[in-house]
Structures are given as C-alpha cells and as structure tokens.
C-alpha cells in the first residue's frame, strides 16, 4: 500500500493536503476559541494573577 506513496509521482497534491489539514485544525480551534464564554475566558486568563 505504501509503495504508492514512495514511488508514484503524486507529491504535487501534498501542498493541498497540508493546507487542508492545517486549515481544518485552525478552523476547529478558532471556532472553539470564539465560542468560549467571556466570563470563562476572563476567569482563565486571571489564573496566574490569583495570588
């Protein structure tokens, strides 16, 4: 199965795959970040200052 990756000249699609994968990760985490409630975000960001 892997021989196809090694020997075939299909590496031209790699940039597409890399961009798509990274885009999905960015997208999911950006949505997650945007959905974080404001009070929760503030509470979390104040943790280091909670002496």
């Amino acid at each position: 199965m892997y021989k196809r990756i090694i020997y075939e000249n299909w590496h031209a699609i790699i940039p597409l795959v890399a961009f798509a994968t990274a885009g999905v990760v960015f997208g999911i985490m950006t949505v997650r970040g945007m959905l974080l409630r404001k009070e929760k975000s503030e509470q979390m960001s104040l943790l280091p200052l909670d002496d």
Partner: protein, 795 residues
C-alpha cells in the same frame, strides 16, 4: 460542579527545587556559552584544538547538549516547578521525586560532560549521548512526569491554565521522541548501533531533532511565557481565546515539519513537500503566540523602560517571532538550497537559543531570585547592562551568520562565465567568511559577558536575602464525580469523532488505490458536511465537552498525545516499512569491510559529521562540485546515517578513491599541508593508537541482527580481514615514505574514507550506462576547482 470549599489551608510550596534548578541553569549556562565561544574560536584558530579530547568535533556536541539539556533544561524545570505549584495551588506531588529529578538530571549532565570529550558518541546531533545515559534520561524524565501528574491530580484549582497544557505536551512528546530516536542495540558498555539506518535514520533523527527544538526549547518556554509574562506585567494574557488556537495548532503542526532539515536530499520528495508546507504553516500559530505575548503588555508599555524583567521577556518574545519567521523561510526548498549546510542555519538557531531561550531565562531568573530569597534585586543598572550587551551580542552574531551563510552559499554556487566550471574552491569560500566567523566570536562573547554580569548580580541578590518557601492560604477543591471524564467520553464524542473520522478519510484519499481514493474523498466531504450540521444543532454540548476536558488532565494528556503522534506516524511508518534495502531499485551501498567499519566508528567518535556532510543534493552546484547526487540506497546500511547538517568542510559522499592514501594521511596529520588555510584540526593522535579489533565481531553481529547482510564470519576471520586490509594500506603508504602501524586508527579511518561512495550497480543501471555510454545524469563533465587538491599529494 467541581468547586472550591470555604475551608482554607496553608500550603508551603516546594521552592527549594526551583532554587536548585535555577542555580544549575545559571552555572551550566556559563559552561555552554564558554564552550560555544571556544569552538567558535577554534574555527578561526585551528591551534586551539589543544588535545585529542578538545577538538571541535568533540566539543561541539558538548556545547549543543549543554545549551539544550543543561542550560535550557534546568531553566525549564525551574519555571515548570514554580508555576505548576501556583497554578494548581498545591505543593509539588512528591518531594523525593523532585529531589531525584534534580540530582538525576545533574548526574546525567556530568556524565555527558565526561563522555562527549572522550569521544563516546552515537553520531547524531543532540542525540550523541551513549545508551546507558539515554536510559538514565528516560528514567529521570518519567520521574519528572510522575511528579508533575501527581501535582495535577492533587490540585486545588479545577481548571488547567494554558501554561499547563504546554507543559503536558512537552512531557509526553519529548518522551516519545527521545525513546524512538534512541532505540539502539548495544555492542559494549559505551557503544551501540541505532536500529534505524540511512534514510530511515535521517527521517527519525530530524523528526526528533526538529521537535527537540519544538517541544524542549519552545513549548515549555511558551508555558513559562503564559505564566510569568502576565505576572511581570501585572495584567492578564492579551487573549485567552487566542491561546487556545495557539496551543492546539502549534502542537499539531510542529511535529510534521522535521523533513525540512533534509530538503533537496535523497529523502523521498513527498516527505520533503510535507515538511516544507507544514513548516510554512507554522508561521500562523507561532506569530499568534508572539502577538499574544507582546499584546499582554497593552497599557503597560512604560514598564519596558524601567523593569528589566519586562525588557528581557519582550525582547525574548520578539526574538521568538523573528526566529519563527525565519524558520519557515529557510524551509522553502529554493531558499534551503542556498542556506542549508551554511552559517545561515547557525545564525537562525542562535537567534532562537540566545534571543528566545537565553533572554526568557534571564527574565525568569531576575523575576524569581528576589522572590525565592525574599529580597530585592541587587542592581537594576547591572541588569540593564546585561540586557543591552546581550542584545547587541545576539544581533552581531546573527547578522554575521546571515552574511556568512548567504555569501558562502552564493560563492559555492558561482560558475564561470561559460557556465561549465565552478568559480571558487571550497577553501576560497572559507577564507571569505573568516572575518564573519571572527565577528561571531565577539557577538557570542558579548552575550557571555552579559550572562556573567547577571551571575554577579544574582549572587549579590541571593547574599542579601534568605531562601524562603512561599506559604499561601488555599481553598481546598471539592471534587464532583459528574466532572470526571472517563475514557469512553474522552474518545467517543462528536467533536473527536468528526475530527478523527475526517482525518482518516483524507488519509484514505492519499493511501488507497485508484477508485477507492476518490470514494474516500467524497466520504470526507460528506462527513465534513455532517459535522457542520451536527455542530449547528449541538454546539453547546461540544463546548461543554471541551470545558470538561480542561478539568481532566488524563483525557487532556491522551488527546494531546493523539495530536502529536499523527504527524509522526504518517511520515515514519511508510518510510520504515518501504524504504529498506530489499525495495531499492537503484544503487545499493557496498558493505563495509571490518577495518572500514572500525574507521567509520572512529569518524563518528571524532564528530567529523559536525563539519562534513555525506549527501550530495539534487542540485546542479552540488553535483558539479562533488559528483553524482546521492541515491537513497547509497547509505541504506549506515548505522547511524551521516548525511550531516553543516559543511565547514566539503562533502565526503564520493571521497572514496578521489585521492591517494598518502594524501589522507598527510591531511589528517596536518590539514594545512594538503589544504592551505584549512581550519580542520590535526588528528595526529590517530597515528599511534590501535583500533579496537576485539570489538569488531560483536559490532558485525549487531549490524547483522539489524539487517545488514554480512556473510557468516567468525571472530578470527573478522580480525584477520581487518589486519590484512590494514597491512595493505600501510604497505601502500610506505611507497610515499610514510611508516604507520597497520592496526592504527589512522589506517582504519583512511580505509573508511576510501570506501565512501562505493555501491553495487543494479542490472538496470548497467544497461542504461552501456546504452548512453556514461550513466552520469549531468550532461557535461564539470570542471571542479577542488580537484586541484588531489594533485598536490602527487610527487
């Protein structure tokens, strides 16, 4: 819900271990920088290679290991131990484990400082330490991990702050990388052969090496940034939302980028493309993190004028931004063609190591020392002096290396007007960059002076105070079973199912045979559509799941592990299973004879790979200078691979047979006699030292076990073969009036050098060679100015 109770109890933090790690980092920082300045001087003045155990090849690994593991390692542990206790509102899990961690780590450093100058090396960058020390590192790392996770388990703060996420990713990823890259079979107490060879070894090495930068020098320091920068600025981090995007995208993307260290080499092209594009996309999370750090100072920029801690932190974050901009740039294949093997890479590494790590360490220590010893900083002007001399030192260093790297790269590629000959010898380019190598020494020395001023400042600070452990009133955490996340809930939920499912389907598009791949792609699109629909209906459930995840450190750790392991598996498994000797359709390297193997081990032990590559890239200037480009099969039995990452001297991939034995002998005895103005150390000690005949049978047995197809040989015949070949070389040297013992290390290393580039020609290539009459892929026979060097040895 999990909540904190009204009951408050006093908790004394274990700040002793923080003080210990901090002092160790300061001391080893001096050692690492001193070693750096010395080896930089050795490149300018070869006479400073004072003894066998003080040559550049042996001291350079000492410098890199000291900087990474001793200096930054101890600094990272100090920051992690201090901030984890505060963020978890609990004392470190176990004092004995903390002590074992500290003393064990220092013993490892001492063992490294002894073994590396003695020439005990595995021959892979930042992974040189011998196998008993590798085991000690793994054990001590596990001790650290257990201690850290016990602390998380006992914590009195329900949620995990972003700094802790970065620490978790560091702990699990470094363990994974270190163990895989150090898998070896010992041949003696001080020597082993790694289980990977050739291209596999190269890929695993840079999967490790690149991610040592990512997960040892970056993620823990980002965790430290997320805790200590808000503390120093006395305001919360600019955007907690951005930190979520920063963390997950960084840990997911970083692991894929390793192959950018092997661009334009014999590494399969799909891996090169993958490495390059994931590196480019690292720009986004890296700069997101940098901006989050810089903007934390919003409304408090005036502190930058008065507070040395803020100065160091902000400059460090700026250097982080600079080096993470430069890294992806250097990963572009066209740029890499010029920059790779040159000083540009060295400048890039030091803008990260000195600017990011060194300044974060300084800021951290200036902030910690007054608090850990309950006093005030002895001198702010001294800290300011440290900042400015350090900043100018780094800039001088980095700019000198930029100019040096670009100039040498351009000169090496320069051809004559007719385009048929290279214009400069390698030594011409070395002479051109000498002034810049001198400026590098001054820049590095300036940074060291700043560090020494810090040592005095902190010493005075410590003397004026008293070691104090902070005691804090903490509300105990009331644990609620409804907040506990089990394995089922961790892995079987909508967000994860859609993410992993989508990824598997995309993999199906890549890996499945024609027909099935298109079906997989269509399924992936349908799956993505379903995910969006599902998210519209149940986004609150998804948010709740993520919030719950932050209350549960074990599920969080497991998912972080999944995020970092994916990239490694996709790159490594095909390479390890397919790129083996039996699948090679091209040239296959000839096996090393016993004496040549002994010579190779001496080459590794002397650290020759620090200056010489064995990889002729698929680039015209490389082919013109060194000969035909290196094929995958030509290093398929090399344990370890020796492709190298820097050319302070020329490539040696096709050195075999290029020059007579006498040339190599004279060159090893006094490189200047054969290559005027060379900066290579003399290796006179090889002349009288016998190579280890008795180790050869075991070494060959281990290599056979690893798949190198040696014929059956008994111990006596192995030794006899080695001595016979040695005698033949000694006899040949006698013709040039050179008398050398046939069992000397000198003879062994000559045998090895003469073997480089020899391969078995498969039938198909023989046919092609006969048809074309040449078989050389380059259409012309180039004029190589370095060939003149061989003529000098002739009487």
């Amino acid at each position: 819900m999990t909540s904190t109770s009204a009951t408050k109890v006093p908790i004394e933090f274990n700040d002793k271990v923080v003080r210990q790690f901090m002092l160790a980092s300061i001391i080893f920082g001096v050692v690492a920088m001193l070693a750096g300045v010395l080896i930089a001087l050795q490149l300018n003045f070869h006479q400073l290679n004072l003894a066998e155990f003080l040559t550049f090849g042996r001291l350079r690994p000492l410098h890199t290991n000291a900087a990474i593991f001793a200096f930054v390692g101890n600094m990272m542990f100090a920051g992690v131990y201090y901030s984890t206790q505060r963020l978890c509102k609990v004392r470190m899990g176990n004092d004995t484990l903390s002590a074992i961690h500290f003393w064990g780590w220092q013993l490892i450093i001492v063992a490294a400082a002894i073994t590396l100058p003695l020439g005990f090396s595995r021959g892979k960058e930042y992974a040189e330490l011998i196998w008993p020390i590798n085991i000690a590192v793994a054990v001590i790392w596990v001790v650290f991990a257990i201690n850290f996770f016990i602390t998380l388990h006992k914590r009195n703060e329900p949620t995990l702050y972003v700094a802790l996420w970065f620490y978790i990713s560091t702990i699990i990823t470094v363990a994974m990388l270190y163990i895989v890259n150090h898998l070896s079979i010992p041949t003696s107490l001080t020597h082993s052969y790694g289980i990977f060879a050739g291209v596999q070894d190269g890929l695993v090495q840079w999967w490790y090496g690149h991610n040592a930068v990512a997960f040892f020098l970056t993620t823990p320091i980002l965790g430290i940034m997320y805790y200590f920068l808000p503390k120093a600025a006395e305001r919360p981090v600019y955007s907690y939302r951005l930190s979520i995007v920063h963390f997950w995208s960084l840990v997911f993307l970083y692991i894929w980028a390793g192959p950018h260290h092997l661009l334009n080499t014999a590494l399969p092209k799909w891996l090169q493309m993958l490495g390059m594009f994931f590196s480019l996309m690292l720009w986004a999370p890296s700069w997101g993190g940098m901006l989050n750090g810089l903007l934390t100072l919003r409304g408090a920029w005036d502190k930058l004028r008065t507070d040395p801690v803020i100065k160091f932190f902000i400059a460090a974050v700026t250097f982080y931004g600079m080096s993470t901009f430069e890294g992806p740039l250097l990963s572009i294949r066209a740029v890499n063609a010029l920059s790779h093997y040159s000083d540009w890479t060295i400048g890039h590494v030091h803008s990260g190591a000195l600017g990011w790590n060194g300044f974060m360490a300084a800021g951290l220590f200036y902030w910690l020392a007054p608090r850990l010893w309950n006093t005030k900083l002895y001198s702010v002007p001294m800290a300011n002096f440290h900042f400015w001399i350090g900043t100018f030192g780094i800039l001088l260093y980095v700019v000198a290396m930029w100019i040096s790297g670009i100039m040498q790269g351009l000169m090496l590629n320069q051809v004559t007007a007719d385009g048929l000959a290279l214009k400069n010898t390698f030594l011409d380019t070395l002479q051109a960059i000498r002034p810049l190598m001198g400026l590098r020494v001054i820049g590095g020395a300036m940074f060291l002076v700043g560090w020494l001023v810090m040592c005095i400042n902190l010493w005075k600070t410590i003397r004026s105070g008293k070691a104090t452990n902070e005691v804090r009133e903490v509300a105990l955490l009331q644990r609620d079973s409804s907040q506990v996340m089990g394995l089922g809930e961790t892995f079987f939920n909508d967000p994860l199912t859609y993410s992993i499912g989508g990824l598997l389907l995309v993999c199906g598009w890549l890996f499945l045979p024609p027909g099935a791949d298109v079906a997989s792609l269509i399924c992936a699109c349908i799956f993505a559509f379903m995910a969006v629909k599902r998210f519209q209906k149940a986004h609150q459930t998804w948010s709740f799941w993520y919030d719950k995840l932050l209350h549960n450190y074990l599920p969080f750790t497991l998912l972080t592990f999944v995020a970092v392991v994916i990239g490694g598996l996709i790159q490594l498994i095909p390479t390890i299973t397919v790129n083996t000797a039996k699948n090679m359709e091209d040239r296959i390297q000839k096996l090393y004879e016993p004496l040549e193997l002994a010579g190779r081990d001496i080459y590794v032990s002397e650290g020759c790979y620090n200056c010489h590559s064995q990889m002729i890239r698929t680039l015209v200037p490389d082919v013109m200078r060194y000969g035909e480009y290196s094929r995958l099969g030509e290093s398929i039995y090399d344990h370890p691979y020796q492709w190298g990452s820097k050319r302070t001297g020329p490539d040696l991939a096709r050195e075999g047979g290029a020059r007579p034995n006498s040339w190599h002998y004279e060159h090893m005895m006094d490189p200047r006699s054969m290559s005027p103005q060379s900066n290579m150390p003399s290796y006179t000690h090889l002349k009288d030292k016998p190579f280890d005949q008795n180790a050869l049978p075991k070494k060959i047995a281990v290599l056979t076990q690893l798949g190198v197809p040696y014929p059956v040989m008994d111990a006596t015949s192995i030794k006899m073969k080695a001595l016979e070949q040695g005698a033949a070389i000694a006899e040949d040297l006698k013709k040039a009036n050179i008398v050398v013992r046939p069992d000397s290390e000198m003879v062994a290393i000559i045998a090895y050098l003469q073997k480089l580039g020899q391969f078995e020609t498969p039938a198909i290539e023989e046919t092609l060679t006969k048809k074309s009459g040449g078989g050389v892929p380059f259409p012309l026979t180039p004029v190589n100015p370095d060939k003149a060097r061989s003529a000098m040895a002739k009487p």
